[in-house]
Symmetry: C2
Subunit: 202 residues, 2 copies
């Protein structure tokens, strides 16, 4: 019996700690792997093309949009981000669970066509703490930080329609909550019941 993999969709405002958390939980299950998105934003120090993102230029990204290559794409802070249909197809079918780290606009698009996916929102413990983390990161200018915090206010309103909200006050606790959500979703009746049926009708 080959079970379908679960698609875990994770969004968060910039600075909520999503990237750190995703790295921490990706090791939890050998059957869990991270989906790699396409982006036009500049590569940051330490990032690797094909691992952190598929880095492409705006022209190539627009060609992919025109070719319907994306299940979702969005423009955020002047950059494009997108998830290729091909990336999700590779998972799911082989029973692998996929962690997809995308912005809430992308998640909203995905919600329409992949309702069985599990939507998780990572929230900062407060807006002050979010600002403190963004300033601590020291990669962004003051203008960018102010814009990110304004954006965060709107993004946090979107948390309402996600399945789960994890408040990232302490990174270890937040990671434990994310892992608990994944373990719980793997116990969903629709996944486990087929093995019960096999037990009753071997």
């Amino acid at each position: 019996m080959q079970r379908q993999g679960i698609l875990f969709v994770i969004s968060a405002p910039s600075g909520a700690g999503k990237t750190t958390l995703c790295k921490q939980i990706i090791d939890f299950s050998p059957k869990l792997r991270q989906s790699v998105s396409f982006t036009t934003r500049p590569m940051r120090q330490g990032e690797i093309d094909g691992i952190d993102y598929h880095f492409v230029d705006v022209e190539r990204f627009r060609e992919m949009i025109a070719a319907d290559a994306f299940v979702e794409w969005a423009q955020v802070h002047d950059n494009y981000y997108g998830t290729a249909l091909q990336t999700l197809r590779q998972a799911g079918d082989d029973g692998q669970h996929v962690l997809l780290d995308i912005d809430f606009q992308g998640a909203a698009q995905l919600k329409k066509c992949a309702d069985e996916a599990v939507f998780i929102f990572i929230a900062p413990p407060s807006l002050d703490e979010l600002e403190r983390r963004l300033r601590g990161r020291a990669t962004d200018s003051d203008d960018v930080i102010i814009r990110r915090i304004e954006n965060a206010r709107g993004e946090l309103q979107q948390a309402r329609w996600y399945d789960y909200i994890v408040v990232n006050d302490n990174v270890d606790e937040a990671a434990a909550q994310l892992i608990a959500i994944m373990q719980a979703e793997m116990c969903r009746s629709r996944f486990v019941f087929p093995s019960i049926e096999e037990m009753l009708n071997p």
Copy 2:
């Protein structure tokens, strides 16, 4: 802000290990406590009235049925079992989470009036293992064991409509899965979003 407590409803065929598991997870959260059901079945060695069950005679149980005191009740293996409305009222309102250990007939009744409750089914890894455990328990006669296994076949079919199924192959792993389900349910948007709203509109 006072959050509503969550009602976790747990069912299992006899011998699947439900009682052991419930004892193991009740210590997980100080905000989780076990609901005590009423029953007419004889008290077993080591059981305490008011802790394991409220033990009552058939006459008293029928009076309570007539007085609409139960949110659910059922007759199983010649004995009555029921959950008093009063027991569930005490929880929920004070933000405490409640673990309710009931038979699938009772769970089905409850499903109709408490759809926001979380329904968890504990399954044995196989019918052979279930029989081995029932014989190992040495509290039941051969006839009773054979009847319990026949009942288990029907009960396992009911697992389909539960929210979660935990296969109790290893008790520690099954307890970990139950705790993960509880942690995950406590991260549900409907519980966490009010705190996000408070963050945005202090």
